[in-house]
């Protein structure tokens, strides 16, 4: 009886060892390069004004802001939150393929009255402790522009 039990236990032990070996060998088949190391997206380090255009038919501004680095955008025009409608990349050095950041293009709501309008934006880095860049500017609308 004891011998029978010993045989069963030893067979079980052998099976467990074989399973362990096969598991180990299976694990060793996983290539190391499945874990892809990558660097965090660069922080927002500068926010510069790139220009604006007044759209005569739509009675609104397109405001362009050039941001170096990558982060969340948040902008306001005359107190109203607005979101960029397009943001093509820009490259540095000029002529290279190295993406340095986005040029945020904002279209403002339709403007009916002449006067001064405040635009402000903040860009919060995805990484690096949420480093921020700020931009603000006043835009003027005249009667000529609204004709």
């Amino acid at each position: 009886m004891k011998n029978g039990l010993k045989k069963v236990v030893s067979i079980l032990l052998i099976c467990m060892m074989m399973m362990g070996l096969s598991t180990t060998s299976f694990a060793s088949d996983v290539p190391d390069d499945l874990v892809i190391p990558r660097e965090p997206a660069a922080p927002v380090t500068s926010v510069t004004y790139a220009g604006y255009t007044w759209f005569e038919k739509e009675h609104c501004f397109e405001i362009r802001v050039k941001v170096r680095g990558f982060g969340f955008e948040s902008a306001k025009f005359d107190g109203l939150p607005i979101t960029s409608y397009k943001a093509p990349g820009w490259y540095e050095p000029v002529g290279s393929n190295n993406l340095a950041g986005w040029i945020y293009h904002y279209k403002t709501p339709r403007i009916f009255d002449p006067g001064l309008y405040e635009f402000s934006a903040v860009y919060t880095s995805y990484n690096y402790g949420g480093q921020k860049g700020y931009f603000d500017r006043t835009f003027a609308v005249t009667e000529d522009m609204l004709q």
Partner: protein, 220 residues
Amino acid sequence: MSILISGTRNYTSVPYHSVGRYSRNVADKSNVGDFRHISNAVTVTENRSTVADENQIATDPGKASGYLSWATEETGHKLIAVGGNASMDYRMWYAQESTEDNPVIIVDGITVKGERFERKLHLNDVSPYNATYLEMTALKSHYKLEEKETYGLPVNASELGPDDRMDFIRAYKELISAHMANNFQQWATECRRSLECYLTIPQKASSSDSAGGADCVRRC
């Protein structure tokens, strides 16, 4: 140009976000309503320390002395373009002698230093291979390229002054190549459309065809 940053960075405790068009479009709504209005044009902060980049303040004509008096001044003309880049603000209207075959545009502007300027542009003489920002803008406005979903002027032109020239055709080609390399198909397509438009306009405009550049723009 130097940016002073104070504070210490904490690289490890922050989750990484990838750089891509999808992640970029996620607006941080928590920031809405939390603006810090400051007198300087550009600031970079880290760990709640704010330091102004004084060199960049000068790259915004909106901060120039006398800007507001210029910007709020009525011209009495029918404006065809109002805008600006990092070096100047401008407004344009047709000159009295302007005709359909020979469009002439008057530009009234102010530079980043607060100096006012005026230029007269003959569009038939403009070559995109060697043009100013104002000339390209005048072409864009006259031929209504904004309505054709074109790309706009390349960003490296955003710092050109009233008389600075550059090769816009080359700039567009470089941009197309860079956008393609980064798989930004949409921007590459828009750039190509702009390039085709600007390449066609001068040929048509200088030809004896009475339709001028309008036909080629329709094809764009």
